[in-house]
Symmetry: C2
Subunit: 319 residues, 2 copies
C-alpha cells in the first residue's frame, strides 16, 4: 500500500501538465528544486496515492483529484485558475502561478499595444503614401487609461503605464492602494466612474461568476467615444456580441484581444475579419519554464517546511 | 537712438520664430514671464538695436545677428542647433530648448517604436489571416538595445527602455555615467563594441561635423544581422545610400526614420516606398508651446539676474 512508503523515499511530484511541457519541466524543475535543497522524483505517471505534490495545468490530463490522498497541494502552471477552482474533487490547497517572465511579458504586451494606439502607429505602418503630415500625437499625460483588475499583473501594468506618463485609473472589486496610480476605485458602484473619460481600457481581471460578461452593452458605453479596448485577461470578461455592436457604432474605436471564449479562435470568427479588431493568439503572458520552475520549487519547499504557500488561491473568491 | 532708451522701458523680446508660432507664443510667453516676475514687450518687429533677448527658431526670418548690439542672448525653440551654431554673425550666448513636452514625446516615440519591433506588432496589424500562431515573443530582457547619444533625450530614453527590461547600452562621444544603463561606452574607438549584438539601435546624437554620416556602410555592419534602426535624431547621421544597401542585404531588418536630410521628405524618395522603411514626419519630439514658454521665461529671468543660462550651447562642440 502506498501508506507503507518508507520515510526515506524521495518526494514524488506528479507533472500533470500537457505532454509538450514535460521535457522542459523535467529539465528545469529538478534544478530549481535542488537549488532550494530538495530532491524529488518527478514523473507524469506516479500512482495517485503516492503523490506528494501535483504540478497542474488545465490543458493537462488531470480532472479528478480525489485519488490523491497523500498530496499536500496543487501548484498551477497558469495564472488563471477558473478552470480548476470549481472542481468539486479538489480539496487540496491550490496555488496560482505568478511568474516573473509572465509578468514581464504582460507588461510588454500592454505597454506596446497602448503605445501603438496612443502614437497612431497603424497610420505609419499601413499608409506610407509619400504625404508629409506633420501632426504630432498628443502626449501620454493627456491620454487617460483605465485598468480593470489590480492583481499582480494589473498593478505591474499600471506602474509601467504611469511611469511613461499616462494618467492611470485602476479599478478592482475589492479596494487596493497603490502609490503608482493616480487613483484607485473599487466595487461595482465605482465602475462607471472608473471608465468615464478613459481613452484606453485594459482588462486584467480574473474570470469569476461576477466578472463574466462584465463588459456588456451598457458598460461599453461608459468610456470616451471611440475608445480602445485591450483584453489580455480572459475572453469571457467581454460580451462578444455587444462588442461587435459597439465597434459598429464607433463607440469602440479598436479592440485588441489576446484571449477568447474559444481558443484557438475559430478561423471564421468575425473578430479575425473585423478591420478594427486585432487578434493576438494568447501570447500576452506566457509562463516561462525557467522562472516558473523556481516558483514551483519555492512552494514545494514552503509546503514541506510548514510555511504558507505563495499565491494561494482564495477558493471562495475564485482566484 | 536706441541707446537713449530709458532704464524704465520694459524689456524687449524679439520673437524670431515662424509666423505660425507667433500667436501661441504671444499668448503663452507673457504668462510664463509674469510667473517669474518679468514684464516684457514681445514682438516680431522690434528694431534690432533695442532687443534684449531673441527667441529664435531656424525656420523663422532671422539669419544675421550682427545688428543686435544690445541683446543678451539667443534662446532657441529647437533642441537641435546645427543650423545656427556655425552662423558667423552669432556672437551671443545661445541656449538650446530642452522642453519637458519634447522629452516626453521623444520617450513615447522611442518606446512605442522599440516595442513595435520587439513584439512583432506588424504581423498582427498586417496579417489577420485567421491562423492561430501561438508564438510568444521573447522578453525585453533578451533584446539588447543600443542608444547612440546620451544627452537629455538619449538618457531619458535609456531610462525608460531600461525600466521596461531591455538591456541598454549607451554610447556617447564623451564619457557619461548613468546608473540606469547597463553599460555606457564613449569615444569612436568604443563604437563598434557598443553596437555589437544590438538588435535595436536608436540614434539620438546631435548633428556635428564628427557625427555626420556616422552610420555609414562599415558601422551599419556592426549590430546583429537584421537589426532595427530607429532615427529620431537628425537625418544626416545616416549615410542614406549605405542604409538602402544594408536594407537590401538584410543586415538592416527595418528602419524607422523620423528625420531626414531634406524635410519634408520628397514624395519620390525611396524611403517612402521601401517595404522595410517606416517614415514618420518629424513628430518624435515636438516642442510644446506651454512648456517651452516656461523654459524661455526661466532663461530670461536667469540672464537678467546674472545667473548662468540653462542648456547653454558649447559652440566649440557644436551642441
Amino acid at each position: 500500500m502506498s501508506t507503507d512508503r518508507a520515510e526515506s523515499d524521495p518526494m514524488r511530484i506528479l507533472f500533470a501538465g500537457p505532454e509538450r511541457l514535460w521535457e522542459p519541466y523535467n529539465d528545469a524543475l529538478p534544478k530549481a528544486l535542488a537549488a532550494v535543497g530538495i530532491s524529488a522524483d518527478l514523473a507524469m505517471d506516479h500512482p495517485p496515492s503516492e503523490v506528494d505534490w501535483i504540478v497542474y495545468a488545465p490543458d493537462g490530463p488531470l480532472s479528478d483529484f480525489s485519488p490523491f490522498t497523500r498530496a499536500k497541494g496543487v501548484l498551477s502552471l497558469w495564472a488563471g485558475v477558473e478552470r480548476i477552482v470549481s472542481n468539486p474533487t479538489l480539496r487540496l490547497p491550490l496555488a496560482r502561478m505568478v511568474d516573473d517572465g509572465l509578468r514581464h511579458g504582460m507588461v510588454e504586451w500592454v505597454l506596446g499595444h497602448v503605445l501603438r494606439h496612443h502614437l497612431g502607429l497603424d497610420a505609419h505602418i499601413l499608409h506610407q503614401d509619400g504625404v508629409w503630415r506633420h501632426e504630432p500625437p498628443k502626449l501620454a499625460q493627456d491620454r487617460p487609461v483605465t485598468i480593470l483588475g489590480l492583481g499582480e499583473l494589473g498593478l505591474a501594468c499600471a506602474g509601467a503605464l504611469s511611469a511613461v506618463g499616462f494618467p492611470v485609473t485602476g479599478w478592482s472589486r475589492r479596494p487596493k492602494e497603490d502609490p503608482r496610480l493616480i487613483r484607485t476605485l473599487a466595487g461595482l458602484d465605482q465602475l462607471q466612474n472608473s471608465l468615464e473619460d478613459a481613452e484606453i481600457v485594459v482588462l486584467l481581471m480574473p474570470l469569476t461568476a461576477e466578472t463574466e460578461n462584465l463588459m456588456d452593452r451598457r458598460r461599453l458605453s461608459w468610456p470616451a467615444p471611440g475608445f480602445v479596448l485591450l483584453n489580455p485577461g480572459r475572453g469571457a470578461l467581454i460580451d462578444d456580441d455587444a462588442l461587435l455592436d459597439a465597434l459598429g457604432s464607433g463607440q469602440v474605436g479598436h479592440a485588441t484581444l489576446d484571449v477568447f471564449r474559444t481558443e484557438p479562435l475559430p478561423p471564421d470568427h468575425p473578430f479575425w475579419a473585423h478591420p478594427r479588431v486585432t487578434v493576438t493568439p494568447h501570447i500576452a503572458a506566457d509562463t516561462r519554464v525557467s522562472t516558473a520552475a523556481r516558483v514551483i520549487a519555492e512552494n514545494v519547499r514552503r509546503g514541506q517546511a510548514g510555511e504558507p504557500l505563495l499565491y494561494l488561491v482564495d477558493r471562495t473568491a475564485g482566484y
